[in-house]
Symmetry: C2
Subunit: 76 residues, 2 copies
């Protein structure tokens, strides 16, 4: 997987956003209509979210996709 | 594929960004180290870009991932 540092940074960002809302992975998964394992694998950088899942996560978190993509970009 | 309207909007956004630079799909593909077919399928909303490809496209276009995600969100 290319851009592993970026994938890890996004996973940590998603976890921060989820935990800031006091949500479990299950709650975010149900709200975004994805599996809990998908949320887990994205947060642990085991999976690069596809844009359709990314848009569902932004919708579930009630933020714009642009905000969801707003995380510190590591230097590759 | 969920969020088809969003995937289509992103494809059109990517094409606008590419054409604004006067680049062919081949030029963008080489710069992002993806196949020309991947660029074509993303622009035509036949493929939901994964985050690693998305980050490569942003890098190739020399914009932040946040800017690449900054496109008009259709109402689903």
């Amino acid at each position: 997987m290319k851009n592993e540092a970026g994938i890890r940074a996004f996973g940590a960002h998603l976890q921060r956003l989820r935990e800031a809302r006091g949500w479990s992975r299950e709650v975010l998964a149900q709200s975004a209509d994805v599996s809990r394992m998908t949320v887990y694998r994205i947060e642990k950088a085991q999976l690069a979210a596809s844009l359709d899942v990314f848009l569902s996560l932004a919708h579930a978190l009630e933020i714009s996709p642009r905000e969801l993509m707003d995380f510190p970009q590591p230097i590759n």
